[in-house]
Amino acid sequence: MSGIQIVERAFRCEVRRALLPGRGEGKPLLAVQADGARVPAGLLDGLALALGEGRDGVLVGPDEGTDRNQRCGEADQADHKLSKLEHFTSLVGADKR
């Protein structure tokens, strides 16, 4: 599978440094804090890395917001970044989780 799935019609997410369960203390990773959204756990790292640390992202379906082209473009951009990330991790055999 590639690409970010938008599992809700719209959700806001904040990318920030956080501890992911099971990673252990002292190994902070990027995570996505989504407001009440059902984000598949396996996508959290990918979403965070796709958006970049310190950025607030708004990943939305194409029917939200006043400038829908802009919003669709943001979602498409995130998808392309994640695709590149997955391509890279497959090349080096890394486990992105």
Binding site: G3, Q5, P62, R68, C72, Q77
Partner: protein, 301 residues
């Protein structure tokens, strides 16, 4: 909207023999109802549908092969026929009277859009395979579709000449999507033209003679900032990524360099067409917008 044209048959009275007052009045001739095509509306809007991947499972940027087939069925059953992006870009509407044009676009040149099997046949579950099969069954639907390519057309440079030739022979088009899916917002119109020239040089190595190349799907839907008129040196239409039906370019509200599309996902089908997910049935006036209907006259609007 369908309507019934009631044809009066009063003209028959002119051919009836003269009647005297003593004769009973002839039985009323019931009106004959003739179902005609949709009423022409060539100032209406045109859906330019946008696909990315075609695959076994539906995701945000992947239309399942099953749903793609249903999309085509729904369009066909609801009086749509395919219009090429080059015809749209040049105000040509070779559409039968009463029919509605729809443009199919595919971004990113994904392998699942056009793929050969090991036996050399086209994968029946890729976009081109599905379109070919549908056209065999519904030849009046047309074949047009445009593929917006990046550096590796359909994942294979080696197969690019063969695939582009096939697309041209079967009435499909290709367009610019930039070699590296570039973000054009920071390049300006001049920088965008440079990027397009780079891709043009590559595509021209593979394109068959006569194949047009005049449209651009902006990566992420984002074109260069500022005046885009300079783009007319290379392109006739610049396509956004969302999210409305498009006006024909002769319409005063049309901007050829900000031409919107509709993503072909369930939410958008419902929003713009009132189509519930997975349905293929004909609906009564399904569009939620003022839709273009051809008058069948191709040499004037």
């Amino acid at each position: 909207m369908k309507y019934l044209l009631l044809i009066s048959q009063a003209w028959l009275l002119f051919f009836l023999p003269p009647q005297t007052p003593a004769q009973p009045a002839p039985a009323a001739v019931p009106p004959v109802s003739v179902e005609t095509s949709l009423e022409a509306n060539e100032m209406g809007r045109i859906p330019i549908l946008e696909y990315h991947s075609i695959g076994p499972t539906e995701y945000r940027w992947t239309r399942s092969a099953e749903n793609f087939r249903k999309d085509l069925e729904w369009l066909y059953n609801n009086d749509y026929v395919l219009l090429s992006i080059e015809d749209y870009a040049h105000d040509r509407y070779p559409i039968p009277a009463g029919k509605k044009p729809v443009v199919l676009t595919f971004d990113d040149g994904k392998p699942n859009q056009f793929r050969y099997l090991e036996n050399g046949e086209i994968d029946p579950d890729c976009a081109v395979g599905i379109l070919d099969r549908f056209h065999e069954e519904h030849p009046d639907f047309g074949t047009a579709a445009v593929f917006y390519l990046n550096r590796y057309p359909f994942g294979s440079v080696a197969e690019a000449p063969q695939k582009l030739a096939y697309l041209y022979q079967t009435g499909r088009q290709i367009g610019y999507h930039t070699l590296d899916h570039n973000d054009l917002r920071y390049l300006g119109a001049g920088g965008t033209l440079a990027v397009l020239n780079e891709q043009k040089k590559m595509l021209e190595k593979w394109m068959p003679e006569g194949m047009p190349l005049s449209t651009l799907a902006y990566p992420h839907g984002w074109g260069p900032a500022g005046d885009r008129q300079e783009l007319s040196a290379m392109i006739s239409v610049g396509l956004l990524i969302g999210a409305e039906p498009a006006y024909p370019l002769y319409h005063e509200k049309a901007d050829p360099y900000r031409t919107p599309r509709i993503q072909a996902i369930d939410d958008e089908w419902l929003r713009h067409f009132g189509r519930p997910a997975g349905t293929i049935e004909k609906q009564d006036h399904p569009e939620k917008f003022d839709v273009f209907v051809s008058d069948g006259i191709t040499d004037e609007i």
